[in-house]
Symmetry: C2
Subunit: 161 residues, 2 copies
DNA sequence: CTGAGAGCTATACAATCTGTCCAGCCAGAT
DNA sequence: ATCTGGCTGGACAGATTGTATAGCTCTCAG
């Protein structure tokens, strides 16, 4: 079975692009727009989901629309062995949207949001007021010239066959 | 109209949580699970989308499943006035998933992916080989203990009424 | 050259869901 | 007391989804 390929073809890419831009259209309409049989689109989607390329179709929620218009990135340095507790502490903060452990001078990189610059102070305080965090540095995101996207990557995958 | 509120109530939060966890269920099934009339759920969704809280229902694509298992964050320093060109250059790189302009020592923070650590070198080369980028520093993400999430934030919004 | 396997087309059917209306009811605001 | 907005429960037609089946074509291996 050649399906173990880790890549996607042009039809997959077009399908994903279509669904990303107009999620409401559904499988049937997508098949019409792509000019292929519905069964084909359905089979493609099933395969993409089975392979994990498509995780799901959850609602995309905009924190800014909820009043959290300020985004910032915090780099944390953690005391030896304190990782697990810190991780738990961070996970409990709703304003922390994601956290990665990283190489380099810091140990963790967090993406956080706040209602305002003043509110950001509160969030950062909540973030760092925990034993085990030895040092932090925060940068505030001003603009977002390239919003999160994956389509160019899927296109590149498809292009290289 | 009280609808200008920038927040959401408990029902909204429960609805969003439900749809996030099981996107395929649809409006009707969601109304059954939440114990409210279908019209109510439909009206809530319409309002959430109208307010921009819910941007859409696009497919969530996992770069890792496409073979891009390495994530990194690159901080760039840009020469005075070179911002626009650099922005364009970056936008053309498919492995660049998002880019923010930031305060602090750097000027831009980029999230990039690559197929491997070796491939990361290629991506970074592509990223920085451009006049106007004066300095860069990259950290590689090792693990992702807190994957991107918004639900806790919506819950917090709903909780504070 | 030939058979096997995989993927796409085309079509069909039943079961569901979606988009819309509508009338009634309730609670908070005026 | 009156009004507006939101929720309920019900109803309908139209469209979509899940599932199957059969025929074709292309590619790969024997």
């Amino acid at each position: 079975m050649t399906a173990s390929e880790t890549s996607i073809d042009a039809l997959d890419a077009r399908l994903l692009a279509l669904l990303t831009e107009e999620p409401r259209i559904g499988i049937l309409e997508a098949s019409r727009r792509l000019g292929v049989a519905r069964g084909t689109v359905q089979a493609r989607m099933d395969r993409l989901q089975a392979r994990g390329v498509v995780r799901g179709f959850g609602p995309e929620i905009d924190p800014a629309a909820l009043g959290y218009g300020v985004t910032a990135f915090a780099t944390l340095e953690i005391a030896q062995g304190r990782g697990p507790e810190v991780r738990e502490h961070l996970a409990a903060i709703p304003e922390l949207l994601e956290m990665h452990t990283i190489t380099g001078v810091g140990d963790m990189l967090c993406r956080i949001v706040a209602r305002s610059n003043a509110d950001l102070q509160r969030v950062i305080d909540a973030l760092v007021s925990f034993q085990g965090i030895t040092r932090t540095s925060t940068v505030v995101a001003m603009a977002n010239p390239v919003p999160y996207r994956v389509l160019p990557l899927t296109a590149a995958c498809a292009a290289e066959r």
